[in-house]
Every structure is written in structure tokens, then in C-alpha cells.
Amino acid sequence: MPETPVEDLLRELAPQALGALVRRFGHFDTAEDAVQEALIAAADGWPRDGVPDNPRGWLITVASRRLTDLLRREQARMRREDTVARWTLPEQWHAPAADRAAADADDTLILLFLCCHPALSPASQIALTLRAVGGLSTAEVARAFLVPEATMTRRISRGKQRIRDSGLRFAPPSGPERADRLAAVLHVLYLIFTEGYARTAGPGLLRADLTAEAIRLARLVHRLVPEDPEVTGLLALMLLTDARAPARIGPHGELVPMAEQDRGRWRADQIAEGVELITGALPRGVVGAYQLQAAIAALHDEAPTAAATDWAQITALYEVLLGMSDNPVVALNHAVAVAMSRGAPAGLALLAGLADDPRLADDPRLPAARAHLWELNGERVAAREAYRMAAARSTNLAQQRYLNARAERLAGDPPPTD
């Protein structure tokens, strides 16, 4: 993804300018339009005339002027419609001091809090975050989530409408509310990352861009809230998971399970950074779910071979994670870790306890995990049937092909092709 320094700079400054404007005027929708116009002017002028001394101040000033115009027009219209304006009038706004980096950094964070407000649906939270903080166009967000642009446009405008209607305050939350809001932000970033990473099949540069964007935003939050161990944990988790991406897909787009991946192709620099982050975060404060998952990912990444994986340690970490949340997928992963550290029968016994969980009823993961453990235990017929069942439940082509290939391999004869 080749980007010029000006584009990089604008992506960094865009949420700061938008945050500054929304804080002063409180009108998310119009402020976004104004910042958009200022960004276009900058992208046009800066490469030609050079970047101004205070690029953030330049953007805020140009966007503010434009916003003033837009609000005047809107105000006239609203007065005509006899509606009470909620936003602050431009005349009441005083120019801030030029040098105020800390506050502008906060603006980005408050903008994230606003986009990830619990009053919005997760789909709207994600769309607004990518649009307002990530600086992606509606078309780009739409393509990343494989929905028509018109759908994404509606989703974004519904989100903005909701912000306007509910009069959500653009102010830094405090106390326990701040922790809740930060948790919502982290969840949204996690969802963006997962959306990019879960795409296992076919070409899809945009999906890879999505993991990169999630990591970029997580870095941003980490820079704004460096003291929070869960923020650090999430960034580490993303880096450690994404580090395996080059080895995860075979030459023909097929899924390669972790045990069979060429570890030489994992990104060593990302692993080193992730390990350092999580090692620094774990001893500090309360250990949360992102830190635990990052610690598990680090143990996988640091094992020189699949056989050398520290499964006992991974099992212990999953046990702590299980104690935090009632999540059947965590329970499933825990059972697999138990199988790897204490033998397949122990893992299969735990999986049996999950058989009646309605949350896993249509999920291919339970039969897939059983199939692996049965295969490990030498029960080839049962394993084969379970692989088939998992493939039938899956709707992902790469996953289906992987599971069917495992089933074929157990049939005793080589698969017809490959």
C-alpha cells in the first residue's frame, strides 16, 4: 500500500481536526463534511506548495471556516423550520492556542469514544470508526465489509442520525464510564481486525488492509492511553496473530493449520514487538482477556516447532480466560489445549460437555475439534465422519476444502487430485 508522506500525515491529522471541530461545534455530521473539504484542499495544495508549518492548525482553521458557512446555512434553514439548534453558535467559539498537542490527541480519543458509543449498533460503531477515525471512504468501508455502498451509506447516516437525535455528548467520559467506553472502543477494533483476519479464502487485498487498519488504530489508542494494560494487550494480540499471516495461506489460497505452517515465514519483527508489549503489560494492573489471548498467541509464536509448543502453559492461560467469561469458543480452545498437554481422551471428555451448548449447534468448530482429537487418538472412522460434518456446517470454501481434504486423507486412499 504505497502512500505518500502527505497522505500519511493527513490520515493522522484527520481525526484530530474532526475531533477538534466536533468538540467546539458539537455537530458531527456537518463537521465531517467540513473536514472532508479541508482534507481535499490539503491533499491538493500541500504536495505542490509544501506542508504548512502547523498542518493541524491549518486544517482546523480551514475546516472551521467551511463549517461556519455550512452551519450558517443550516441555521437559517433550521430557523425557517422553527427547530431549536442544539449546537454552539460559531460566534461563541474562540480560537484555541496554536500549541496544544495534548488536547488534540485527546480529541482523537474522544472521537473514538463517540463513534463507539454503546447507543450505536456494532455495525454502526465499526462503520463510523473506520470513516471518522480511520479516514476510509464509504466505498472502501463498504467493500471491506462486502456490502453494497448504498447499504453502508445508510448504515453510516443512521449512526450519525442517532448521535444527533440522542444528543450524545462529545466530552471525555470519566470514572467507570471511561473504562466502559474504552472497552467498547477496544471491542470495535477487535471486530475490525477479526473481520480482516477471518477472511481465509481467495484474493482480497481490502481484507488485508482491514487488519492493517485495525493495527494502526490500536497503535493510535495505545499511544493515547499507554498506561492501560488491556490496550497494550489488544495491540500485542493483533501483532502476534497477524505475524502468522504469510504462512497461513498456501500457494493456491488453501488454509494451512498452525501445526503445518512454515514458521520461517512468520514476521519476526511483529512477534518481537508483540512479545515485548505483552511482557511489559502482564505484570501491571488487572489482567484482562486481551492480555491473556496475547500471552497465548505469544507462546504459539515463540515455539520453534509445533511440537515444542508449551501446551501446559497455554492450558493454564485458557483456564484463567474461562473463569472470566462464559464463552463456548474459549471452552473449545481450552479442550484442545488440554488434549495437547494431557492427551486426546482428556480433551475429548471436555468437548463432550459442550455437545449440548446451543451456541455451538450450527458451528463447524465443535465437530472440527472433535475430528482432530479423534484423529490424534487413532480413531480414524469417527474422525472422518466428524471432519465431514464440520465441512457440511461450514460456509467458507477454504475451510470446507481443508476439512474435506482431512476426511479424504483418513479414507486410506489418496485424494483424487492434488
Partner: protein
Amino acid sequence: MILLYGSQQDYDVLSGRATDRPAMSAEQIAAMHQHMETFHQALAESGELVDARGLSEPVHARRVQVRQGAPVITDGPYPETQEVLAGYTIVECASFDRATEIAAGLVDPDAPGGYVDVRPVLDGVEDLAG
């Protein structure tokens, strides 16, 4: 709207499940993905692409009927060889002939008897008169 059809058996061949037809190889799958990607990318660049989607296989389908006022929901199974809608591509282009030309690119030349259907979306039917 260009409609693409497939049977459960076609999906099985794609997913590597053993049937009386050989499963598709990884290379064939990769080539097919590459073709679809390039094809739709070109339509996106010419501004003619509205939407393109693939549908999951018939075994994941649910049929909803209403009997004596109560909804009755059944899963498959569907006959293996019965063709169902497998995907669609919606284009907005200059003429019905242009849409037909685009549709030809979605027919697999290696599948004997393969076909797609092109049907105007009703909104635009008056555009076709001229």
C-alpha cells in the same frame, strides 16, 4: 441482473468433497477466484458494477411455507442435480446488449452446457425500449 446457477453437486466439487465427479484442485479454485476477482475489478473500474454476491450451498437453505396460518420451516435436502441460484452480479450499463456481453464473461467455457441468465431489473425496463 446476471444470474448464475449451480447444484449441490457443483458445490461439492468446489468444496473438495468426493462425488462421482472429481473434486476441483487447489490450482483450479485459485484460477477461478482470480478470474472472478479480475472480472469484477474491471466492472468496478468501468463503473458498471452495482453488486456481486455468491450464495451458500443449497444444504444451508431453509424453506419457509405457511400452512393453516402457521409458518413451517424445513431444511433441505434438495436433489443433488437440481440447479438453484448460486450467485448474481448486478450491473448498471449502457444497454441490454452490453449486459449480455458482460454476462458471457461469467460463463465457464470449460463446462459443457453451462449458462447464465440476464434479466433486466424492472426499474430500468423503460430504458430498454430504445
